[in-house]
């Protein structure tokens, strides 16, 4: 459009304006002149408010406290990094044997849970705000009543409890009120308690429909163990073979040396065949060719590695099968488990609570930090039975579905602001100390129970009471510093069994006996009519408790890269048979239950199997998760909460757009993830391609680089969440993710290559490559991205004018543009969660992974001021990785770990043909595992 035309148009649209060519040009000229001054606006005056009394260490000192968060009642040890009196980051506790410095995605995201604006701030009575004075009066009334009746009719419902103080408090209440009953609602519990597997000692691991490396409270400790064994194999010390048979792809299946996609009903047959092969028989009559090959390989592996072999079965399988596996493990001489997840054997389950409520025996119910109105199958009828109880109390962090039904909703404190204690995965006990004074009027779970008992002791006093300590106690101070108050009972031993149930003692005779179990899990190969339904907790939302956590909603799920939604997942074979495509709505019905959800095709799901995830379809508790996904809990039955048969799937009208960060699932013939056959193998090394640019100087003995070992990456996404937390990454919402505008600086790509019914599953974390010949630096017209002497590709936000040329030029697509001001509407409590060392980016600037430049600069400045050489710098992603897949460091130092990784013959650069000379390189994945 020429200038004259546009003037005409403007004159037409705004006739009141008297537009003349000369005037317009004059205005343009003046604007240009002013434009020079526009960027130099006077800074707004700031105020400064020093303390009245400086805290110890100075006003802005960074403090580190050892504490823990919990997932499903199991402690996850962390170090809380506190600035200005509040936590801004959680790191792993390197001194804690349960995690050795690693954390998982849920633990990283727990920080945002503390600053959740949707948290309850005040007690609510029948939906209206009340006060703690009134709430306490009601509790004292109840206590008096219970004293008179000996506790009859009082029911306490909690989640799984591992905390020694909470157990002590509950025991004390039960002693005082013998008529009271304690129920535990564990939506994610299996048939048998989960054992913590000693994967570092296991050279041959056989996994049957289980996911030891998958998301959950045991992921960190088990991933650490497995990666230790894998690393030993890489060095030529023994084998690291993992054989997996599963109906749906899992993280464990992705790292398996041999994976067999198989309907879950076949597991018992496979196990029987395996037992037969191991005892010398042929055992292959009922198996097809694939299954037979797998069983043969497993039998061979197990026989060669007796004493270092272990068979793991999913905890949802019936006890009879577990007895078989236990016998098999005993005959193999398998290493004993490290610990058992807490079982709360002396508590009843939620079904007996519902029975009591329905029968009218329950006169008062206190639900402590649990959400059964959402996370029980509707078949149980919790909501209806709950409504009959004359006095209903709910204590929790959010006004969730259960709180909506209660008379009283009492706000609980987050663990990061409470005094408590917890039992970690290895059985050790840690003290939980608050990282900040609560900013809402809340009580901790211990203070809550104490109030019921008429006790006004503070949380700290209650926890000290459990450990018989006081502030002056040297032992107590040490426990707080180190993060452990009681070491694991197995510490230092060879791994004696810890009173395990279901492992190591059942005789084979029990396994062969007729099974009277009511569990309808189909045994044998007669397939029921209808489809198999596999129900799993969502990889990022878990059982639903994280539905209102934006970091976890926007975290791409490892095997599908979906965000903000769950889906009805099927194999390509089933989709073709039923004529279903991605995003089309489908109705999944089973028994009387019907749910509707969008279809997503996932290569690697067994034939005739449908997968759904729990945790979506939340109806209360916050705005973030509202409208996200569908509730899959109705598909669970009490008898079979995890695996069901006889499902039907039909096309439903309409579709739902699903926001995925990676629409393509294969490498399409490229070799982004390279594979070698066995340990010791290398990749063909080619000479560097010619370049017109001079080689990068390695000045001052400082050259930053990163090496990522794809052989040990399990796709857990802890690194992505840690990066989100450290670098103030904004969450953009479903619509923007769908447009490809997700802001995660680090992404974990997932590929499913080869035959789509039995694909090779791989993961590849992709941060900024910090290329020596960076195309982005060449493209930026204003030099907002430049190269530092120590090898970093810098992004200077205050120079960036948002042309997005750099992102267009980047072949790795690791640059992210702020299309909107994502943080403008953030409430103050959310602003408090940010890391003050990292800029909060405004609209219109580009951002990307900086190799955690704030950490590098901090170490550089401190070293300069102290007059010493620079020490080690760990990026956020490196620090949390449970398998130590990511290593960052100085390649000018030949002895550094990153230099050693890069000297490995498996090392290669992504998109080598682009000749960008990236500083981030990868270690090829090794297909085998046999020594």
């Amino acid at each position: 459009m020429s200038g004259a035309d546009s003037l005409e148009l403007w004159q037409q649209r705004f006739p009141a304006l008297d537009l003349r060519r000369r005037d317009v040009l004059k205005t343009l000229g003046a604007t240009l002149a002013l434009a020079g001054l526009d960027g130099c606006a006077r800074e707004a005056d700031e105020t400064a408010m020093p303390f009245v009394n400086d805290p110890e260490g100075g006003p802005s000192a960074e403090k580190h406290y050892a504490t823990a968060v919990e997932l499903d009642g199991i402690g996850q040890p962390v170090i809380g990094i506190c600035r200005d009196g509040r936590p801004v980051k959680l790191e792993g506790n390197a001194n804690h044997p349960a995690s050795q410095g690693a954390t998982d995605a849920f633990t990283q995201a727990a920080l945002l849970g503390l600053y959740d604006p949707a948290r309850s701030q005040t007690p609510m009575r029948q939906g209206a705000p009340s006060t703690w004075g009134e709430a306490e009066a009601a509790l004292f009334d109840l206590a008096r009543q219970l004293d008179g009746s000996g506790g009859a009719g009082f029911h306490l419902l909690t989640g799984p409890v591992g905390s020694p103080t909470l157990l002590r408090q509950i025991a004390a209440l039960r002693t005082r009120w013998p008529g009271m009953r304690w129920h535990v609602h564990a939506p994610l519990a299996g048939e048998v308690p989960q054992a913590v597997l000693p994967l570092d000692k296991v050279e041959v691991l056989v996994v049957l429909d289980a996911d030891p490396l998958g998301p959950g409270p045991l992921q960190t400790i088990q991933a650490r163990g497995w990666s230790a064994r894998r690393r030993a194999y890489q060095k030529g010390q023994g084998s690291a073979l993992v054989y997996v048979a599963e109906p749906v792809p899992t993280l464990t299946g992705a790292i398996a040396t041999q994976r067999l996609p198989v309907r879950f009903g076949r597991i018992a047959t496979l196990l029987a065949a395996l037992e037969q092969r191991l005892s010398g028989g042929s055992g292959g009559e009922q198996l097809d060719a694939h299954e037979k090959a797998w069983v043969d390989a497993v039998a061979a592996g197990l026989s060669r590695h007796k004493g270092a072999a272990l068979v793991a079965l999913g905890s949802h399988h019936p006890p009879m099968l577990h007895a078989q596996v236990a016998a098999l493990n005993a005959s193999l001489g398998a290493p004993a488990p490290l610990a058992q997840a807490p079982t709360n054997a002396d508590a009843s389950d939620v079904a007996s609570l519902v029975a009591a409520m329905r029968g009218g025996e329950a006169l008062s119910v206190l639900v402590l930090d649990s959400n059964p109105a959402y996370s029980t199958p509707p078949e149980l009828g919790f909501a209806q039975a709950f409504a009959k109880v004359p006095l209903r109390l709910h204590a929790g962090l959010h006004a969730d579905e259960t709180a909506a039904l209660a008379h009283w909703h009492l706000p609980l404190a987050h663990l990061l602001e409470s005094w408590s204690d917890t039992r970690c995965a290895d059985g050790s006990a840690s003290v939980v100390q608050p990282l900040v004074r609560p900013f809402f009027d809340v009580r901790s779970r211990h203070e809550m129970l104490a109030l019921l008992a008429g006790d006004r002791t503070t949380g700290r006093g209650l926890v000290q009471g459990t450990w018989k300590a006081s502030d002056a106690d040297q032992r107590w101070q040490q426990a707080l510093l180190r993060g452990i108050v009681e070491p694991s009972p197995l510490a230092g031993q060879g791994g004696a069994p810890s009173g395990a149930e279901g492992e190591g003692s059942a005789a084979p005779a029990v396994a062969r006996a007729a099974d009277p179990s009511p569990n309808p899990l189909p045994q044998g190969e007669r397939a029921s009519e209808g489809l198999d339904l596999v129900i799993l907790p969502d990889p990022t939302i878990h059982d639903g408790q994280f539905a209102h956590n934006p970091w976890l909603q926007e975290l791409p799920k490892p095997l599908t890269q979906l965000t903000w939604d769950n889906s009805v997942q099927l194999s390509p074979q089933l989709a073709e048979r039923l004529g279903l495509e991605n995003e089309q709505l489908a109705e999944l019905s089973l028994g009387g239950a019907k749910v509707t959800g969008p279809v997503w095709i996932v290569p690697g799901i067994a034939e005739e199997t449908v997968l759904v995830h729990l945790g979506y379809g939340r109806r209360a508790g916050g705005e973030v998760g509202k409208g996200a996904g569908f509730d899959a809990y109705p598909l669970r039955s009490l008898a079979a909460p995890w695996r069901r048969t006889g499902a039907h799937l039909t096309r439903h009208e309409g579709s739902r757009t699903l926001a995925t960060t990676q629409p393509h699932t294969t490498m399409a013939g490229h070799d982004f993830v390279k594979l070698v056959d066995r340990a010791g193998d290398g990749l063909p090394k080619e000479p560097p391609k010619p370049s017109m640019y001079p080689p990068q100087k390695k000045t001052d003995g400082l050259a930053w680089a990163m090496a990522i070992d794809l052989d040990v990456c399990i796709g857990c996404n802890a690194c992505v969440t840690a990066c989100d937390a450290e670098n103030n990454i904004p969450m953009v919402g479903r619509e923007q993710v769908h447009k490809g505008r997700a802001m995660h600086w680090l992404r974990v790509d997932h590929y499913a290559d080869g035959p789509q019914d039995d694909p090779q599953l791989t993961f590849q974390p992709v941060p900024c490559m910090h290329c020596e010949n960076a195309p982005c630096e060449m493209g930026c017209p204003v030099n907002a991205t430049v190269h530092s002497p120590d090898g970093l590709n810098l992004q200077v936000y205050n120079r960036c004018i948002g042309t997005r040329t750099c992102s267009a030029f980047c072949p790795y697509k690791v640059r992210h543009f702020n299309w909107y001001d994502f943080t403008r509407d953030d409430p103050p409590v959310l602003r408090a969660a940010r890391n003050p060392e990292v800029t909060v980016r405004d609209r219109g600037v580009m951002e990307k992974c900086t190799y955690c430049i704030q950490r590098i600069e901090r170490e550089k400045i401190d070293a300069d001021a102290d007059g010493r050489p620079m020490g080690e710098v760990k990026t956020a992603c490196q620090q949390v990785c449970p398998t130590s897949a990511i290593v960052f460091g100085n390649i000018a130092d030949a002895e550094s770990e990153v230099s050693q990784r890069k000297a490995d013959p498996r090392d290669y650069a992504l998109l080598e043909d682009a000749n960008t000379r990236p500083r981030t390189t990868y270690g090829a994945r090794i297909k085998g595992g046999s020594a």
Partner: protein
Amino acid sequence: MLLVGASAAGAGLVRNPFFTAQGWVVDQPVPFSHKHHVQDDGIDCRYCHTGAETRADAGLPPTHTCMTCHSQLWTDAAVLAPVRQSYATGKPLVWHRVAQLPDYVYFDHHVHVKNGVACVECHGRVDKMPLTWRAKAFTMDFCVDCHRNPQKALRPPQMVTRMDWSGVNPDLLKEYGIRIAGHKGLDPNRLTNCETCHR
């Protein structure tokens, strides 16, 4: 013509004290006189600004520090009422910042002081200020001039709070700067790299 003239005018305007706040006395809740406390009383900078050689931000003194003297001296002075009030109620004093940098600048105080950059280089003759104003225009070129040429601003670390350098032989200072910059290996190429101040 218009563009060139406008740019020249723009350049001048950017350095105008209206934009840089150089020389403008900033209103404070208490009319604190550095002249009195430093020149008359001889109090060292670090007595109050404790972070100057230990932390990234030099900081302002907590009310407690003021009260170390003013619980004994001038206890009835009206100008000190806000200080006494702050101490009594536990509410902090609300000062208005003088040496303020934009948020996109990550300035670390203690690395400058430890390396020997004297307080007077950036803050000017604070001992001559009856009320406090910004002595230098904290434009980027003010910082980069020195980062390109660190030897001109380096002093012996134990004399970093000295205000008056006129009595010292300038050639000696120059020699000292050159030697110490060489000894520390201060490389202008490194110091003028974007990552040094902008993350």
